[in-house]
């Protein structure tokens, strides 16, 4: 199976190449079917690989000799493969969602949109599987380039090009910072592979008796910068709401569902494989960095999420909040923290993508994503409303959704975590439920919002073009089906009994610094026997019920009130200015902040 690992990345590339070469000569359903097949084949390969023992694939057969290689390795460990499988499944869902109804310009150039989606898939799968720092940079950039193009896809409107530009500037800057870091590591170790670099750092530390010095810390900070930009951690997060608010709905599903999570994954992977040893960065420094940024992102994201009326932007800020929780879970640097986070990510991907799918349906029916303008407009589509509300409850952590299980497993790691997780889940879930009540039930007053309540700047979301070419009367069947299936997936993550055990074992292997190097370089996979693991506990389920109840309560309290503004938060809102210069300034300030946190 190891030999076939690269196919997970290259099958979508081949599909994209075929679509570009022949897309304009075939009818649209054929192009879409080709894309769907390529994405599904990649998903299938990843799923099969997950059932086999973990394997590595040395590209070009340049396997290691005495622990050194001249080639690139793909590592099929459970977590990386699981993320590749999740990406591919989500891509299949997105292609199904776009089937027929989604308007795909340029006309006369069929297949361009599905081809871009396949390239996005290849970029993310390559990033998830690679065991090489520079190769990770290349796939990071592939992800980025496709992401910018897809975000700015609707060039007819003013805002998408602006959102895509800030996304492009901030992400590229992060990528170049990471490349400087990779250059520093290469100068020190003469290696590019993660396992080799980690081992070389440890050996030099052993020889000289000192831990990671200024160079190692700087490399860590610079590489982490790119990953935190991707993960949209405060203060690197500014691009995310701007990009998500303007990107086409299917693209939002991928951006929020899995691309942002790649940042957290990358941070955890690079830390555990390269920097977790004696020659790396002390665990306390890494933990402090991720923990502080995670907690701040979770709180700031929730605060901003609550105050939005642009539904896509609201969901975008909830992604900032939840990625903050993921980073908090990763920051624990324990197998249980990682396992809980992995389940949380799986459940979140389903719930968040379903929420975007429902928002897209609203946009296609009413030409608006403005909570106030949409008031009561959804009363005739109970199905979509139910799905939207279920998505909100999933975000709020209602058992037995996967989000709730993941949240519960992370919360158990430390006594103060439940407060943070419950608060953030309740606020973000509550914001979604508030929208659901107003749009689908017509609760509260019909708001000619705008003049009242809101202090400071805001993005409204009215008068948007539907993505279906013209407005649809009824919710298109593929769109509703995809939303339902995504939620079912989020439910399955919390209810399939064997999954948690498998993820816990996978997380133990993931967190094993020496084991990773041994598996990659010496062909000796560390054995992590499936041990005892936690599943649902009474406390965990109770905390989930509590946050869901709080979310419902918050929504009920706020639905009749005209203002969503939280007193004192206007300065924070003003920071989200949509200005490239501001965001770049915050990004370098973030580099400074991360260095301080890592060094202290």
């Amino acid at each position: 199976m190891g030999r076939l690992l690269p196919l997970i990345v290259v099958v979508p590339l081949l599909g994209a190449a075929l679509l570009v070469a022949g897309g304009r000569h075939v009818p649209r359903p054929v192009a879409e079917a080709v894309a769907g097949l390529a994405a599904a084949a990649s998903a299938g390969l990843a799923a099969v690989a997950l059932t086999r023992p973990p394997a590595v694939s040395w590209l070009g057969a340049w396997g290691p000799r005495d622990g050194h290689s001249v080639g690139i390795v793909l590592v099929g460990d459970r977590i990386g493969l699981g993320l590749a499988a999740l990406t591919s499944l989500l891509v299949v869902a997105v292609l199904a969602y776009s089937w027929h109804y989604f308007d795909e310009p340029p006309h006369g150039h069929g297949g361009a949109f599905p081809a871009l989606v396949l390239l996005f898939q290849a970029g993310m799968c390559g990033f998830a599987l690679t065991g090489d720092l520079f190769d990770a940079f290349v796939f990071f950039e592939l992800m980025g380039v496709v992401g910018y193009a897809l975000t700015g896809y609707r060039v007819e409107e003013a805002r998408p090009v602006q959102g895509a530009l800030v996304f492009g500037f901030v992400n590229s800057l992060g990528g170049y910072a990471a490349l400087l870091g990779i250059g520093l590591l290469y100068a020190r170790t003469g290696e590019l592979g993660m396992a080799q670099t980690g081992r070389a750092l440890d050996e030099s530390a052993g020889a000289s008796g000192r831990g990671g010095d200024a160079l190692v810390v700087a490399a860590f900070v610079l590489i982490l910068t790119a990953l935190l930009v991707k993960a949209a951690a405060v203060p690197f997060h500014f691009w995310l709401p701007d990009a998500h608010a303007v990107a086409p709905t299917p693209v939002c599903m991928l951006l929020s569902g899995v691309m942002v999570e790649m940042g957290g994954y990358g941070a955890a992977r690079v830390y555990t494989t390269v920097f977790a040893g004696p020659g790396g960065v002390p665990a306390a420094g890494a933990r402090r960095t991720l923990l502080v940024l995670g907690v701040v992102s979770a709180l700031a994201g929730a605060l901003m999420c609550w105050q939005q009326r642009h539904v896509k932007r609201l969901l975008a800020f909830s992604t900032v909040a939840h990625t903050g929780l993921f980073l908090t879970g990763i920051a624990l640097l324990t197998p249980h923290g990682i396992a809980g986070t992995a389940l949380y990510v799986l459940g979140h991907a389903g719930a968040k993508a379903a929420l975007f799918a429902c928002t897209g349906i609203l946009l296609d029916r009413h030409g608006s994503v403005d909570e106030c303008e949409l008031h009561g407009k959804g009363r005739d589509t109970a199905g979509t409303g139910l799905l939207f509300a279920a998505g909100g409850l999933a975000l709020a952590g209602l058992p037995p959704f996967g989000t709730s299980l993941g949240k519960a497993l992370v919360e158990e790691q430390s006594p103060w975590l439940p407060a943070l997780f419950v608060l953030v889940s309740a606020v973000t879930g509550g914001a979604v439920l508030r929208v659901a009540a107003r749009v689908f039930l017509g609760a509260g007053q019909a708001g000619r919002d705008g003049e009242e309540g809101s202090e400071g700047p805001e993005t409204a979301g009215g008068e948007e073009e539907p993505e279906t070419g013209r407005r649809v009367r009824r919710p298109p069947v593929p769109m509703v089906t995809v939303a339902a299936l995504l939620l079912a997936g989020a439910l399955a993550v919390g209810t399939v009994p064997g999954l948690t055990g498998a993820v816990t074992t996978a997380a133990e292997a993931f967190a094993d610094h020496g084991g990773y190097a041994a598996a990659v370089l010496d062909g000796r996979p560390a054995v992590h026997p499936a041990g005892a693991y936690d599943w649902w506990t009474w406390t965990g389920a109770g905390l989930g019920l509590l946050s869901a109840a709080l979310a419902v309560g918050l929504a009920a309290l706020s639905v009749g009130r005209r203002s969503r503004a939280v007193p004192g938060s206007a300065p924070l809102r003003r920071l989200h200015s949509g200005h490239v210069g501001d965001y770049v300034a915050w990004t370098v300030a973030g580099i400074g902040l991360v260095s301080l946190l890592a060094l202290w």
């Binding site: 081949l14 057969a61 001249v70 300034a585 300030a589 973030g590 400074g592 260095s595």
Partner: protein, 249 residues
């Protein structure tokens, strides 16, 4: 955020980054040192693969997967540009106005076009031997075509540039790289393994799959650059929005 606040945030960030990076630099091995373990291994491997240009050997053999990713980045950004620079509903295409070009410039362009094209193809074909390869040669070859635009005029370029064909070649170049990689799997080795006969050192046919991958990249880059420039040129010369007309009217 006001400009002043932004400058303060920026200054703090720049200072901190400078301090971090400068501290790291003091720990770097001295400039020009002789310790390059990966480089030494790569040179040995390249010579063993009978590839005289070791940089090409790294790009198309040892770390050929990086190059697949890199080619895909180019491929994706060209596709992205095609999508972003499309003619939208509220825009129309107008015929660009002819421009007079001095006769000497015309003669120069006609002379240099075949020469430039030849140099481009040479650079692609000799990538395994001398500095160059598919990326560099592809850019040169694509540039040659655009001498038509500079030395003659835009319609002349359009006549010699059937865009559909170049888009086909763009996809074909990408597909060729992917499939050449799969040849390694089919031959029973790893993906992107160099499974072809390695030939005689320092000849055109040396290096096994390296010249073939170079050619695939050369095709892709040539057509990608042509398609990319075509869309920028169309925006500059042909596509006009209705709004602009209103303004001028």
């Amino acid at each position: 955020m006001t400009r002043r606040v932004r400058l303060w945030v920026l200054a703090a960030g720049l200072l901190a980054t400078a301090a971090l990076y400068a501290a790291a630099c003091t720990q770097l091995p001295g400039f020009g040192g002789s310790w390059h373990p990966y480089g030494d291994r790569a040179v040995r491997a390249a010579l063993q693969q009978r590839t005289a240009n070791t940089v090409s050997s790294v790009n198309f053999d040892l770390r050929a997967f990086d190059t697949l990713g890199e080619e895909s980045v180019l491929f994706a950004s060209v596709l992205g540009t095609v999508v972003l620079l499309r003619r939208t509903r509220d825009e129309k295409r107008v015929a660009p106005e002819p421009v007079r070009v001095p006769a000497a410039l015309r003669r120069y362009g006609r002379l240099m076009l075949p020469v430039t094209l030849l140099i481009g193809l040479y650079v692609i074909a000799h990538g395994q031997l001398s500095p160059g390869g598919g990326f560099q040669g592809g850019v040169v070859a694509a540039t040659s075509l655009h001498l038509l635009y500079i030395a003659v005029d835009y319609p002349a370029l359009e006549r010699f540039r059937p865009l559909g064909l170049y888009e086909l070649a763009d996809g074909a170049g990408e597909a060729a790289y992917v499939l050449l990689g799969a040849a390694g799997l089919i031959a029973g080795s790893a993906y992107l393994a160099n499974v072809l006969p390695l030939g005689t050192f320092n000849t055109l046919s040396s290096g096994g799959t390296v010249p073939l991958l170079n050619a695939a990249v050369g095709i892709e880059v040539t057509s990608a650059v042509v398609v990319l420039l075509a869309h920028f040129l169309a925006q500059a010369l042909e596509i006009e929005g209705e709004r602009e007309e209103d303004r001028s009217a």
